[in-house]
Symmetry: C4
Subunit: 219 residues, 4 copies
């Protein structure tokens, strides 16, 4: 029952990646972990976003065994699962190659905080992983090792991952990450910019997480 709901949610959130300009064709994926069963719902591999349906979502256990679904899960599944196994607090993961954020993953620059919005959402510099090969759990290992308290990480020469208490939270973080990277990129092209001071970032993060939205969140 709950899994049926989660299939719908994850399907809609994968499609939202397109609507928010973060993905093209079949690249990128959203997954969510069901808090009760620990099963993970994830996008099938290589299926076009406009052909996704809740039924096509794949349900796997934490070790990659397909529990339900006719299709093969995303090629990034092992990395998602590695993160879920090592981070009990994470129930949603998003992966994209959104172009502005990915350009920082290409240059190897961590993305510092230049705006009140990114202070509020990220609370500190977005870290960058070392290079990791695709297809197995190496990316998951890099995420767990390097992400720290952040909810976003740049994957060296690849793209971005965001994690969250829910997949909706991780999706929001991935949208704001690209928006932030875009503005900061433009600013950097015109002049040398200085990140916001650390105490300003921390205060912005605290205020925002105490006041924003319709219910208090304590992330």
């Amino acid at each position: 029952m709950l899994l049926e709901e989660l299939r719908k949610t994850v399907c809609a959130q994968n499609i939202a990646l397109v609507d928010n300009g973060l993905v093209l064709w079949t690249s990128g994926n959203v997954s969510a972990r069901d808090p009760e069963t620990n099963y993970v719902v994830i996008k099938p591999s290589g299926v076009l976003f406009d052909q996704l349906t809740p039924e096509k979502m794949v349900v796997v256990d934490l070790y990659g065994k397909v529990v339900d679904g006719d299709l093969k899960p995303s090629v990034d599944t092992a990395s998602h699962l590695y993160v879920y196994r090592h981070r009990d607090d994470v129930h949603g993961i998003v992966h994209t190659h959104s172009p502005y954020a990915t350009s920082f993953a290409i240059t190897g620059e961590p993305l510092h905080i230049y705006t009140t919005t990114s202070a509020a959402v990220f609370g500190g510099t977005i870290p960058i992983s070392d290079f990791a090969i695709i297809g197995e759990e190496e990316i998951g290992q890099e995420i767990v090792e390097k992400i720290g308290n952040s909810e976003a990480i740049l994957i060296r020469s690849h793209g971005i991952f965001t994690i969250g208490k829910t997949s909706e939270k991780a999706l929001k973080t991935s949208v704001i990450l690209e928006e932030t990277a875009q503005s900061v990129h433009y600013a950097m092209l015109r002049t040398k910019v200085e990140p916001l001071p650390e105490d300003v970032v921390e205060q912005g993060y605290r205020v925002y997480n105490d006041t924003y939205g319709q219910k208090k969140t304590t992330i």
Copy 2:
């Protein structure tokens, strides 16, 4: 009755922020002040733009008391209200993080006038505020102190606010501001550009406000 109309208008204008490429996810907001009651209609906090309905708009008085509506108003409400209390001529306010204009807010450059369109709409350099924390009325104070005769202001390390005789006017100003920032950004990357002379800007502003549109406006 009028408030019902204003809810519909403000809801549609919040959605128009998305259609004009100025906002993503839940960031950004439009408010309008009812000239009769002085009540302000504003976007609820943290609600996705595609889930907005007129009923979800929040009605507050000039001091932030919720007069009507089940949701919590935008986290920027105190700043909107500060502006309304100090500027009787303002009946609409728009706030976005539109990426090109925000890049000027990041670098701290005021946005000078390089085109006849921005001369016509802005009438002079778009000022930039000092840094202000989010969540209370500090941003509103910066706006009132620094915006002068302008209908747009860059908020340092944050985004933009536009004000207007109506919320439609403020919305238009926010669209033209981003369009202007975009072209000027491209031009600046290729070569050093000089703003238009002040007298040319003033003449362009005067001509436009005497002739454009279906009714004479005297803003």
Copy 3:
């Protein structure tokens, strides 16, 4: 009868400006001249593109007298009419502030030919006008004086105009102009680029105009 058709065409082409990413809000306009009556159909002033209907189009004679329509014609009407009066071969005119092309209008760089597509469509460097004030026919004078054999011109510190045997042709030219300006802008940011040699441009123009599309054109 024909005028009714022309209203529909001009309305659809104004809306196509939005669909092709060339305009926002109310800026920009398409007009067409009826070959029989010499009447000109043009967008009304300050009306949002998504509210345009064939009935809202304004019909004027070559000297600006409104022949049919309840609304005031575009603020650029006098300039359109100046061009029609001085160029018998022109039956369609498009004006936009499309951002990449406008950035060349801001810097004052004529847009040279770097690709086979722009060779085919433009046949030579796209000229740039001197600065002209808005609201009267000064822009039209600049166009007639500076456009030469070109079907496109950059208007200094303003935007672009394209002219054509038909308004559809002028619309196409405005789309290709922005696409060209975009690619050339990116190339210029990375390295110094050299325009195509003049003979290559001329040959590309000739071949294309002899072979492209479903009917031979002899423009």
Copy 4:
């Protein structure tokens, strides 16, 4: 029968060029070769993408004779056919002027591999052709001569071509090519970047082609 299906497929894939932001107006085209008859289905010349229907697709033999269809085929047909005649493995070809990739075609830079995604899809540097005139088969000759093992090539001062075992594969390649060029362009503007080492690229290509999607592919 099969040709009817292929008309529908090729029509939908031409329209997908628009949906993926690769083309505007009438520029760009997709073709596919029917494995049984060797007939090629291609976009008609100069028809707007939103007016394409399966019936408007043109069927030609490998030497350009129209086998079925009322319209004239794309001006690029001779180049498509040259490739099909010289590459038995190719059953789909896509041509666009997508702006970021085209900017590399303008500067004459081959596009090196900076990300795991482009390693996986391209397997090595995307080559660039010499300049070729449009309208005959010269572009096809350049493709066959310069593309080597790649499935994508930059056409000097023009745009891009991708080839594939199917037209869907070529379409995917054209989408990823533009996405890659976009991120790499941004990265290059901020700092000097180094391509991935060749062995990393090769390994990424191998892993991806062994594991991605719903069926093993052995391209």
